[in-house]
Symmetry: C2
Subunit: 380 residues, 2 copies
């Protein structure tokens, strides 16, 4: 997913432009000039990419459109501003950068950021001080709720952006224990404990059942499903009631129904937010977008979509601007990573910020935090 810039890759890419590849793609159709030039001098492409990288870096740090003169001053590119201007014109024609208005500097487009992330940057590792701070802070957590709430605060603080952490998904966890407690003869409390530390509980009203029946049920139910994935539970308990005498059936049916309900509960996909105050640091840049962004953040569904499909643990995903798929988030990017125990992804966490963010740093932080959270879960 993340490849540092390497000469070999650039060359290879040039020689083998696969259709559909967004990187330096599309030139097949419309820009013969550039296509030709690339064949003739590899250095030209190199420099052009270097210019794009410089533009992204400068824009991210200054937050102002960057011009050709400033660029040669800040980076030793070894050519004159005029040359850079030519490169910029080409980059603009290909859609990687954009001019807010004539006589202004250039700003990267979503496509430009995409290229930057894919090819022109690498994940920046955290300093050892930061790593040990993460370790110390997360290590103090006492239970799952605490791990999650600490994580979200930590991410928000490190990246100074909005942090989003998803609770370990029930469906991807396994059953550690099921407990049945008869509060009264006709009121049973069902407690489900997963190997990711989640504890879900629910009351069940039934016809009265005896203590011994409850004990029997508890033993058989545990024997049946402990150690199995929650996703397998429905099929395993399918004919569970058949083992019991007829008069207990209604009670068992409602118990099983409650169990299944807990498992598919929509609340299973809980998401925790933190650092929304960081949004205001950007209001100078896009003052009109903070409203839509806050609205999107209040929608659990949107957040879940942003966190996206689970990928492998510690696989970083970056969604830039329109790639998020939401109108209101066209000026924001989302960096996410799966996290989990035993190399198994149980949920996602990530960070949301302006498209003009420090991608290498943010990616480094998200990836490091995801790794540590996974480690913490392993210990539990």
């Amino acid at each position: 997913m993340i490849r540092p810039l390497q000469e070999r890759e650039v060359v290879g890419m040039r020689e083998d432009p696969r259709p559909g590849d967004t990187v330096f793609g599309e030139s097949r159709l419309g820009e013969p000039r550039l296509a030709d030039s690339r064949v003739e001098d590899p250095r030209l492409d190199r420099r052009r990419l270097e210019v794009l990288r410089a533009i992204v870096q400068d824009y991210v740090s200054t937050q102002e459109p960057v011009g050709s003169k400033a660029l040669v001053e800040r980076h030793n590119l070894g050519v004159s501003p005029a040359t850079i201007r030519n490169d910029m014109a080409a980059l603009e024609e290909e859609g990687y950068i954009h001019q807010p208005h004539t006589s202004a500097g250039r700003v990267p487009t979503d496509k430009g950021y995409r290229l930057f992330v894919d090819r022109l940057s690498s994940v920046k590792p955290l300093s050892s001080a930061e790593r040990s701070a993460i370790h110390a802070f997360l290590g103090g957590a006492v239970d799952l709720d605490d791990v999650i709430s600490r994580t979200v605060r930590l991410l928000a603080q490190i990246t100074r952006q909005v942090a989003v952490v998803q609770y370990p998904s029930l469906s991807r966890s396994a059953v550690r224990h099921v407990e049945l407690v008869a509060i009264t003869p006709s009121r049973i409390m069902l407690v489900l404990i997963t190997d990711t530390g989640r504890v879900e509980q629910r009351f069940v009203e039934t016809i009265p059942v005896s203590e011994t029946t409850v004990a029997d049920l508890r033993a058989r139910l545990n024997a049946l499903i402990v150690g199995h994935r929650l996703s397998e539970v429905p099929s395993r308990v399918d004919d569970f009631a058949d083992q019991f005498p007829h008069e207990d059936r209604p009670a068992i049916d409602s118990l099983v129904a409650a169990l299944l309900e807990v498992i598919v509960e929509q609340r299973e996909e809980r998401v925790v937010l933190g650092g929304t105050a960081n949004l205001t640091r950007f209001r100078q840049d896009f003052p009109d977008t903070i409203g839509p962004v806050l609205e999107a953040l209040e929608e659990q569904m949107v957040l879940l979509k942003l966190l996206g499909e689970s990928t492998g643990p510690s696989t970083l995903t970056v969604r830039i601007g329109h790639e998020t798929g939401y109108e209101g988030l066209s000026a924001t990017s989302v960096v996410t990573s799966g996290y989990g125990r035993d190399g198994d992804t149980v949920a996602q966490l990530g960070v949301l910020g302006p498209t003009r963010m420090d991608y290498p740093g943010t990616m480094g932080a998200v990836s490091a935090v995801a790794r540590y959270v996974g480690r913490i879960l392993d210990q539990a």
Copy 2:
């Protein structure tokens, strides 16, 4: 707390200005002119208050400083603008209103809002449509978490402001049931269920104990504390271990310790937020304050302080601007109410918005929601 404007009250207040009373107070010290004039014609005060009320109402709806001419046009005060100007000058001298700059209209001060809330307005009851919507929405909740999350969304939607709801306090709840479950001989799960519907759980590592001991413990523990306030639990379990044979003491001690820990757990004071996106509706007015406000909202401690000490259920509390006690919230007001079951306050809920808010409407909404939530808890 909330008194509608009544002639009798105004007259009584005039005749008996208690020291320390903020309403129309302070004039004892510095404004003999006004003090005298009040004695001479009660109608004067009446109109002056009417002017203040009109200013607050107009300012809340237009969000712009209101001038004397506009005031006589929109309200039939029966006098000329010049007269109103005199009243305004007096009100300003007493600190109830304020002029952003010369040749601008007047804006209420915090003190002005305070007087408005205390004497010039009454809680506006919700429409029956709104009431039935609340009923339907809250009635669909399945458990405590759901009640809380629905409540916060509901409040945010009705008032179009930021909603804050506190979980029922553990210390003010009573024990409904304690369950001990031996997951393994040396690992016991402790589950505490309160009459407010909260379920707290915790694992305890002990020396191995037998099933029968656990059952015995469970029975005695329940007998000892069920029905009692959590705040009484510590003293009640103080010498609990004495009843048991010596070899079980270590296990019982760790169990009791875990129980106490659950009760005093700082997490007991959980607060849920909603509707932060509504903050952006005011950014035209105080664009610089939204940052500090978001920061304050992220601080659990600040929120808890804002929700404040418990008062009786359905007793409304209004904190205006600086009264919140936080620098960053000097332009916001907080309207809160206790809620609970059986007329017993178990927690607070409320709304946070700009000082220039619709107090009667907001107070009506908060009070209605608090009442309904209490009713829902009663049913559980």
